[in-house]
Point group: D2
Amino acid sequence: MSSSFGRLLRLTTFGESHGKAIGGVVDGFPSGVRIDEDFIRSEMGRRRPGSTPLGTKRNESDEVNILSGVYNGLSTGAPIGFMIENRTQISSDYSEIEHKYRPGHADYTFDAKYGIRDPRGGGRSSGRETAARVFGGALAKLFLREHGISVSAGVVEIGGIKAENYEWNPPFPSPLYAPQCDALDKMLERIEEARRASDSAGGVIECRIEGVPAGLGDPVFDKLDAALAMAVVSIGAVKGIEFGAGFSSTEKRGSENNDQMRAEDGRPVFLSNNAGGILGGISNGNTILFRAAVKPTPSIAKEQLTITDRMENTSISVRGRHDPVIVPRAVVVVEAMAALTIADALLLQRAYER
Amino acid sequence: MSSSFGRLLRLTTFGESHGKAIGGVVDGFPSGVRIDEDFIRSEMGRRRPGSTPLGTKRNESDEVNILSGVYNGLSTGAPIGFMIENRTQISSDYSEIEHKYRPGHADYTFDAKYGIRDPRGGGRSSGRETAARVFGGALAKLFLREHGISVSAGVVEIGGIKAENYEWNPPFPSPLYAPQCDALDKMLERIEEARRASDSAGGVIECRIEGVPAGLGDPVFDKLDAALAMAVVSIGAVKGIEFGAGFSSTEKRGSENNDQMRAEDGRPVFLSNNAGGILGGISNGNTILFRAAVKPTPSIAKEQLTITDRMENTSISVRGRHDPVIVPRAVVVVEAMAALTIADALLLQRAYER
Amino acid sequence: MSSSFGRLLRLTTFGESHGKAIGGVVDGFPSGVRIDEDFIRSEMGRRRPGSTPLGTKRNESDEVNILSGVYNGLSTGAPIGFMIENRTQISSDYSEIEHKYRPGHADYTFDAKYGIRDPRGGGRSSGRETAARVFGGALAKLFLREHGISVSAGVVEIGGIKAENYEWNPPFPSPLYAPQCDALDKMLERIEEARRASDSAGGVIECRIEGVPAGLGDPVFDKLDAALAMAVVSIGAVKGIEFGAGFSSTEKRGSENNDQMRAEDGRPVFLSNNAGGILGGISNGNTILFRAAVKPTPSIAKEQLTITDRMENTSISVRGRHDPVIVPRAVVVVEAMAALTIADALLLQRAYER
Amino acid sequence: MSSSFGRLLRLTTFGESHGKAIGGVVDGFPSGVRIDEDFIRSEMGRRRPGSTPLGTKRNESDEVNILSGVYNGLSTGAPIGFMIENRTQISSDYSEIEHKYRPGHADYTFDAKYGIRDPRGGGRSSGRETAARVFGGALAKLFLREHGISVSAGVVEIGGIKAENYEWNPPFPSPLYAPQCDALDKMLERIEEARRASDSAGGVIECRIEGVPAGLGDPVFDKLDAALAMAVVSIGAVKGIEFGAGFSSTEKRGSENNDQMRAEDGRPVFLSNNAGGILGGISNGNTILFRAAVKPTPSIAKEQLTITDRMENTSISVRGRHDPVIVPRAVVVVEAMAALTIADALLLQRAYER
């Protein structure tokens, strides 16, 4: 497996959904950054099951225990170890899936890869591992804040219902974590429909990063958009990412898609942002903007065809308290991965500043 | 900069479009692989300017000189150094852009990052660097071929014209490198319109990887789709990527989007491929399928507003022999990055095979 | 900081000597390996303070809590998180050194690097971090054992007293963890002299790795000896390493130093082992042999000149329960770093096996 | 294989001794550094065969062709590709060793690892690859020079004859590249004796790095001494390394070995340098000092027992124009690896500077 993310600022994580604990190590974090535990707690809360009325009724504990690397409230430069204990859970919930592969899940591929699998709650492939990402992201945001950089994401589409004409005024409120727009009620309705049908819905998350100076990102392979793409697609359930005009840029002419430039007060200004704030893999000082596609939750009560690990045909109805939609809870995870990526790129760029 | 790609199989590249040469090193390549120089030449030819009547009229030399790592026609396990000389070019073509930033290009961001820039032909940010990727990809394909894995890509959309009801029977012919479908003529027409308007067009490339065994990819951060996303988005002009049903999966219910399973002859079969062949970041044995959005070529003769490196307002009309569309030439580059990623994941998985 | 070691098999650690806990993550560990907790406990015991009558009287808790990656006694391929709680300690022991730099310690360099320092017990630079290395090493040994590879180390010199004519029959007994030889009593005497003088002594540790097949190690930069050198020199207090004949090879003629070869039963046999089992950075099938120089413990009660963090001249007598010699306790740490290095090289080589 | 060295500043190399060329890529090199080609040429000259009357009579071409990354005499931040062509050589010299394994060489281990080997001149395991290191080191020195850091090495022991009471006033003159001392004549004599006996001699190289600020190096695994150890031991023929008092520190008491401190003009001064300028893996501002053991050249005309690749017993007398001692030519290679390591650590530290 590969449980580390980043080049200078590195997040390493461990943990299964029903093991003793999840946690990890944030390494390469600068010294002297004030570790705001209230902020961390509030970030963890945004991801926690039960944080939205849409979600699972499970009551996971997401209380982070910081084990090292902080002294008198400041980071020391040493690795920051952290742990989130898993409260006792009724593992019998998961007895059926010990031998049946849930469609849309990683059960089969984990067996194919490792020959052994912890079936309790999806084990390592459970969304629970994203709690460690959110912690790492919270630290990254504390560092970025000192450099005037902010990361915010919100739901802009649910089950085909698109937010339109919205303004971007984060933080966005629970339960949808979406910018204010006319479509909100329809989105909630779409989720309710899915729930009633014992089914689930997907959606799109938009992320904007403000205050990034021009110059971050490392061509030709570790371009800033390439690094963000890896970061965000590594989140379970994300099936696509696009920057700026993204897939719709393919329908434009070059003259429409290019962001023309003007100088204002001796600084460049772009007349549009089809590039999503990145040119040639390097930030251009404009808002960095991307959208991620989140597939509908694969865990559904509706019956589906599948096989067992003995290659027998069967069917499955995934029981338990599952979310009909995980898109809102993924918002803070997308922010976390973006924040880690930008913080890493910022550190790298500092190494080369003249 | 960051000019290396891969973990075990590593491609490192160098070179500017108008310097002495481009080239690089392929390291971690297995020994004993037959190096088929004809195949390499044919791959290089697919990317070369002038390979399609749609493209630039420049006559770049793409003859690869292999400098090491091959003995008696077989790879030795030693690093494979290679070089492609740049033929003499009229650099005066580029004198205007020495101080003006071309919209949609990396001119401004390179200056912001490095404080110095080789303006001849875009320097390091030129698409010419992709020739080195194609060479690396050709080697990766030779290795994958020995393991029954094939990588093919094709154009499935140009300027909003979508290929539909196509079969996948690669290799696809020049000039469009697209699968046979009714839309081909309209696509060519769309390109011709853009050219006449001194403008350009973008498009979408689909890539399919066949023969990948279940088990490749490393959760939770180096998932196979995450690695492919980084690989492909690192190609200049790519602004988005989606796997399987991708962005359209967000409009589906979970029950529609999950790929249900059956056992046939003791092996799992998926009844659909919305996952694009990857579950939980690990290949599931199905065809790996993704699509990449390629923006319209930013170099256009049409006049555009821009600024100089002294922050003066001005305008620019990019002269020279530029492609109205680069999507067809990017097909082999997408294949190359995909092949490098899969070969790397295959080597890694071999380390853990029981 | 850089708290990760290894390429495929990666140990990441965290923790200060007087924080809540130390611990880490072992990532890239193969699935299906039986995790023998008794063996792990016994390895931890070899490093623990108080494990030898020579050492500190501190009673550190070295009970490891495995938090993930193991299911039904077998590794699952998922990252193995682990934690060792620090028992309550009298931190006042360390109040004097909050502002005085201990000679031979990293107090000054940590301040110079990070601008902030956790002074309690040396913080991150304390030898306590090696407990996490020993845990990682124990796991590596369990994997190596399945491949017939064993790693053993022993003390062969203390304060200038050299073991001679010794046989290598590990495991070596407490307190010295040295092979049986005539010099043992003199070594113990030398330590006792140092203790009586409120001073300390250093020594040399030899390490032998048996059963390594020919072919491990990656020229030209990640040669097996280079990787071992990095691994072992990264242990605090190690000031040198040599392979095979090492520094004494420089006094030999080539004809004496070269290990001549014979074929026996169709397999190569070396008539000597001046190379220490590594040729051209690749294991040659012979026993891998190296020696590491461990400096005398810098913490001594004897008064020494030093400065404060306000650049005032002063002197210091380091109080507390310090070892007059740490060489015996470092034996298992040397083994651990060697085991991690060899296991990593073995995994890498498996990726390329034909 | 692993042909890349460094984390931010990365040298990747390729090439066999008798292939078309050797070369590589220097990536992550800062922009705006003046590339002094005269200096590079003079560094290459120090390593070149024939640079000392002691060495081989082969006349290798070491003219470096810089292919990219430099514009108007300044580095641009882009990867610096470089190539050194191999002049035509009489490969028949090497016909005997195609099937016989030379003792002390990597012939057998390359076969064991790769199953295929370019026998001409040792192929990839030839000392010729160090020319690429020297080029990378020369660039690193140009960068370090801008930061007031200098790296110098010299021969301090040949075949058991030790330089004593020497002053350190580099650069040291050909042929021995040793500091002025009484032992010089005896060293030369020792080499001459070895040559007359168709044999070879080894020696010790000392390296000093001046001007390094306190704070470089990354505990706990990428300590500065650990990184230097890996860098230097990765040079062929190096069998050991020690820092400061090194192996002799093991014979000292802690009170003798600790470098006591005084404040002078508000800055710390060390009263000795047994630590070799590194404490806890971080530079302390003192001169960094290490010594490397170089084994006697394994290529000797004297007859030795060996085997063939068909596991037959035989003997070999290695013909050709081989050096009876390579220690003097290795001096600039040791400097190069040290310079690359320090430059990399300096860049990394800049990322974290407050």
